[in-house]
Assembly symmetry: C2
Homo-oligomer: 350 residues x 2
């Protein structure tokens, strides 16, 4: 710990100071920093000692300039789900921990017309090596093209393969949703409702497809009155609940395309005195904190978002990461899993 305190006034030691102290040229110090071969142990040790003694830390801006490239990667997101963003971010940081990289985080306004222009300005200004796009903005092809045009590497996170494997980390959401719904069928449910995510979101489409596939397998159909639109918001869950649970023949189970809507639907059920899961089973999606903060705890689908962050970093900037993390699976599809909790039971009368 070369930790003599530097008062605000005193300057950081530079590579020149180290060179002078170690009695070598700055080039040699540079070689030590960058782990060049071609160095005697003696030289290396002397330099390392000087570095230690001065508490020298290379100036990243100067390195960036000399290397003609910086060491920044950007995380672009516009996510209704804060936990997802933070978990992903955590994964990325885990992956780049021992590298020279730093992470820039940038929320973007999906709605805004100026969104593309904003992102372009950001990328041109910061010139990160690469950008990571979290859903839903990851589904915007213009954004990917913008990165491409700007020469910024990019990787898109999605609930399905939305780009080639080099540019996309995805999960098998459709399959897992189907699996969850098969479970409902196996318990005896026949009238199963569906609350959809927002139109235009790939994730919403995937979940719907998985849902429909499982129904089709079981020879069940989805009557129009059991199909509710939605937008991933709690209030949409409320509205869906009002609609679905007022039917003369209400569903005995509902798959909600995310946890917040499931929570909304569940609160309607509570309000109407409908017992969950006794009279109504509910399944959500995301395994957000909400899922375990409502009562009864929600069965849901867990998205391996932190792992996706790690994988995204490994795929985006393999050349900046220690090679230890080599992974043979380059399909970049990670597995979501169904998490069973207390919101699912057999339908009444079984």
């Amino acid at each position: 710990m070369a930790a003599q305190n530097k008062g605000p006034g005193s300057k950081q030691p530079t590579i020149n100071d180290v060179a002078a102290l170690a009695g070598v040229s700055k080039k040699t110090v540079s070689r030590v920093i960058n782990r060049s071969e071609f160095l005697t142990d003696k030289t290396r040790t002397a330099v390392e000692k000087a570095i230690e003694q001065l508490g020298f830390v290379p100036n990243p801006q100067a390195r960036a300039l000399a290397f003609r490239r910086n060491f920044l990667i950007a995380l672009l997101h516009d996510n209704p789900n804060a936990q997802t963003v933070l978990n992903f971010q955590r994964g990325v940081l885990d992956a780049i921990k021992d590298s020279d990289l730093a992470l820039l985080v940038r929320p973007v306004d999906r709605g805004s017309d100026k969104m593309l222009e904003d992102v372009r300005t950001f990328l041109e200004k910061q010139r990160p090596i690469g950008a990571m796009l979290l859903p839903p903005i990851s589904e915007n092809d213009d954004l990917a093209k913008l990165c491409e045009d700007l020469g910024v590497r990019y990787i898109r996170i999605g609930s399905a393969r939305i780009d080639d494997a080099k540019h996309c980390i995805s999960s098998n959401d459709r399959e897992v949703v189907a699996e969850a719904v098969r479970g409902l069928v196996a318990l005896g449910h026949r009238r199963i409702g569906f609350v959809r995510g927002p139109v235009g979101f790939r994730s919403a489409a995937e979940r719907e497809e998985g849902f429909r596939a499982a129904l089709a397998e079981a020879g069940l159909d989805l009557p129009a009155e059991l199909y509710a639109p939605g937008n991933y918001r709690y209030t949409a869950g409320i509205e869906a609940g009002e609609a679905l649970l007022s039917l003369s023949a209400p569903p005995t189970a509902v798959f909600c395309s995310n946890d917040e809507m499931a929570a909304g639907l569940m609160s309607v059920a509570h309000g109407k005195g409908i017992r969950v899961p006794g009279e109504l089973s509910i399944i959500g999606f995301d395994d957000s904190p909400t899922a375990t903060h409502i009562w009864p705890a929600l069965s849901t689908v867990r998205w391996p978002i932190r792992e996706m962050g790690i994988r995204a970093a490994q795929t985006l900037v393999p050349d900046f990461l220690s090679p230890g993390a080599k992974d043979d699976d380059d399909s970049n599809v990670l597995a979501s899993t169904f998490v069973e909790r207390q919101s699912v039971a057999p339908p009444p009368g079984r």
Copy 2:
């Protein structure tokens, strides 16, 4: 929009290219970029035209090097509440939007022994102008001292004045909690329970003090059996619920030190068939998404976290921000507010 696409191979235009095209020296271009006075309109226009034409964007690393300072600020957090972090972050980004600053986000492991060492490494490597510390790590004095020693400006976010006004943005949590509890008393509640936050957290102490103050005003006391420990986690709310709601004389209202514990307590109430708010009123703290995702929606205290982000940026780096945002109130205390929803009602029999 000087937006001819640059293929990955082509280089970014530099200040020299602009100078050559405009027929001036690079220093003059630099002056235009930095809005120097002392420039003829003619020169300025010519340079701006050249910049536009080439799509030139100054290299931030080079500027950082030449200025002997970079344009980075760091956000350090270890927060159980993702929404809080993201909202704060949003506020900061709103504030620095039109500046040259960029934001580095860094989660830290509060638990780890190496925490301080990790942060030191991070700060030494990135050398941000300043660091923003979110609670609970903002309460760590060693961390503040580390910034001080390293010559990194810092600002701490807290639920109370934990440093002088130049280094601390705080809210009036104690007062607002007291106000909320006064409301319970006014409704007729006499047995009011309390679920505490983790020991050692200033925020938890503030909330408790506010609670006790309101009780004292009303001449009520807090029997030991109505006081439950906690740690801000949902499970602690469950445990508190088990304890408080099994009493022979259970409370008619409970103040929980955050929303997650309130949600836990509420789920226990549901499980026991205790009607909320009819038989039990509950108040939380944070106004997290959970507060509106449970049923009934939780009355809680909203923390002006986004505004705190804006204020934090303005206080930390006023010299990098456009002066428009001058604010006379330099006490840096922002107001939390009590949000009434559906989890509070008069006690049974009133």
